[in-house]
């Protein structure tokens, strides 16, 4: 079995069987990263471009390490060094890259749908590494891998996603993925950060942290983007932390073996207190480890995969 599409643009259109395939493949790739010589020749001769129009350390590095461990050549382009500053359009940039015959292009962009433009224009495989507030499929896949590892299954779990749901591509991709895998998903955040009709995505909606995380198997905290305050979306960071921070007190409402996740980078003291981020329930760094495995799996599957 292989992936049915040439691109990985989002989890919305990803069938459950393909999610399983990616997670299974990722699991089998994890071992490579523990070897002394962390490199296999699977993608030797392939060229992978990361095209990042938004700042990123972890995601870009994760993709680069994933590609290199599979033996691919990687080129990193970030907006500050690219022709974008000279006013070139995304489509022109893409066409120029295409002319140099890469095999896979990984794009992150602040505009929702940017990866779709490349996907529909280019013959290369496109991986969406985050487009605006739309989707961040590899984050959701690595989150699902982590949950599956820790809990054995995703089906039937009670999972709370807490924070600025409206502006979060991580939330959207996870909602699509986790509901498909049979989890019971709750979203929670300030009312003005809850997008309209979100319940139609098959989630329950809470405005009180305590209600959302009660008996949860998984609590996923989202990064609060500090610039949102300027747009009058919440009164102050203090108020936000008071109401929506995961801390020693409220975590007791969740199941005893709850796992705490965060896509990073963490604003310590805002959405999560340091003792929780570093505490026994936290799987935040394991998410990062799994990120490499999931991205290796995707690069492998999109390059032709199982022959």
């Amino acid at each position: 079995m292989n992936l049915s599409k040439k691109d990985m643009l989002g989890v919305m259109d990803l069938p459950k069987e393909e999610i399983d395939l990616i997670l299974d493949t990722a699991e089998s790739f994890k071992e490579i990263s523990t070897r002394t010589i962390k490199k296999v020749p699977t993608l030797r001769g392939k060229t992978v471009i990361t095209l990042f129009f938004e700042a990123s350390t972890r995601t870009r590095t994760s993709f680069e390490i994933a590609a290199k461990r599979l033996g691919a050549d990687t080129i990193n382009i970030s907006a500050s060094t690219s022709s974008v500053v000279k006013g070139e359009s995304l489509i022109d940039t893409a066409r120029n890259l295409e002319s140099m015959n890469p095999d896979i292009i990984i794009i992150r962009h602040s505009a929702a749908g940017a990866a779709h433009i490349l996907g529909s224009m280019l013959k290369q495989s496109i991986i969406n590494a985050g487009d605006g507030a739309h989707e961040h499929p590899t984050q959701a896949l690595l989150d699902m891998l982590t949950i599956r590892e820790k809990k054995g299954t995703i089906e039937g779990l009670k999972i709370a996603i807490v924070g600025d749901i409206a502006h979060s591509r991580v939330a959207r991709s996870n909602i699509y993925g986790l509901t498909k895998m049979g989890a019971d998903v709750a979203v929670c955040g300030p009312a003005m950060m809850m997008p309209r009709d979100i319940d139609q995505m098959g989630v329950s909606v809470y405005y009180k942290m305590e209600d959302a995380i009660k008996d949860a198997d998984v609590v996923m905290m989202l990064r609060m983007q500090l610039e949102r305050q300027e747009k009058n979306l919440f009164p102050s960071l203090r108020e936000y932390a008071n109401l929506f921070s995961l801390n020693r007190d409220n975590i007791r409402l969740a199941k005893d073996d709850v796992i705490v996740m965060h896509p990073g980078p963490v604003n310590r003291g805002v959405e999560i207190t340091p003792e929780i981020a570093d505490g026994p329930h936290s799987v935040i760094l394991e998410q990062v480890t799994n990120g490499v495995a999931v991205r290796m799996a995707l690069l492998y599957l999109l390059s032709g995969g199982i022959k």
Partner: protein, 432 residues
Amino acid sequence: MKLLLKGGRVIDPSQNIDTVTDILIEDGKISMIQKNISLPEADSGGDLKIFDLKDKIVTPGLIDMHTHLREPGFEYKETIRTGSEAAVAGGFTSIACMANTDPVNDNRSVTEFILKQARLAAMANVYPIAALSKEQNGKVLTEFGDLKDAGAVAFSDDGNPVTDSGLMRHALEYAYSFDMPVISHCEDTGLSSGGLMNEGFISTQLGLPGIPGIAEDIMVIRDIILAEFTKTRVHIAHVSTAGSVQAVREARSAGINVTAETAPHYFTLTDEALMGFSTNFKMYPPLRGSDDVKAIKEGLRDGTIDTIASDHAPHSSIEKDVEFEYAANGITGLETSLSLCLKLVDDGILTIGQLIEKMSVNPSNILKIPKGSLKTGSDADITVIDMNKIWTVDTDKFCSKGRNCPFNGWELKGKAVMTIVGGDVRYTDFEL
């Protein structure tokens, strides 16, 4: 020069005519409507042209009261010539053009320039709509008196809402004293700011910031209140929401002088078309939900919505082949509008007579221009429609420079096959 249109089904709501009859045109005017006009041999000399219009519908020339012709300033998107060519190709004999050009049509010289370019193009009649405020900045009124004298037919800051209710009040009062309409683009920017599409389940799925329907409703209601208070009238542009339709309906029944227009895309498409992020579905106001589409159709059916205008807004690939968020608002409309409207007739929402009323008689009444009628002596502006012609939209064949059309590739039924302006055949699309 004489034209004889023979055997068409003539529908003229202004005279309650719906019958198979002949029309004789002389010197650019309608000189006779009568069954079986047979001219004496002497009159049918070399300069008489006869058209057999059997099985075709003959109507007063269609009027599109809301277009953007982009000239002066954005000639790479459209010119008055290409825009008015697109108009006649779409069956429109008269179009009104909005003021958001560069420079803005906020003074006599721009209005006169538009009229001059339209005369040179010699395609459709072009009626300039002047800006309501200088540079459309919402602060200082334009010179309504001078602009009317120069040939402007209405005032509007279309593209920008008039957020200052005091300025809107004065505009309504001042325009009314000249017997001129104010056309209002209704948008509460506090609610719409930053939005890229209709706010609802689809915007939530796509992660695009939403524009709630109430951003329109609130301003429609404000304008209705202002029109009532000032005892003037207001015309609501491009109605897209169920809330606006309801507000206009209630105002009308309370005797308030408000008219309303919608555009074909608001009863043809919903925001679901945005899945996939195609910028050809991006316009302002945005495509709404299915309840809104239903309400627009009901508003058309019960007469709440007076007219259908295309909001023809051509852009080039420079503005449209970009990320959704950066793409300009607007779609072309002149060459697809009539066919999309004829679907309302096919679907039993309007009779063909009611549709012609909305596309010819009513816009001429709102703009107070001497059009929209086939009365003897009136200008021979005539549209001939083939209700059964099946055709496929191909933007490469557009007269408009704009290719930003969400209907490209659609198969449509019904089309203008002949457009006559001032007795001159400006467009034909059938075997004579």
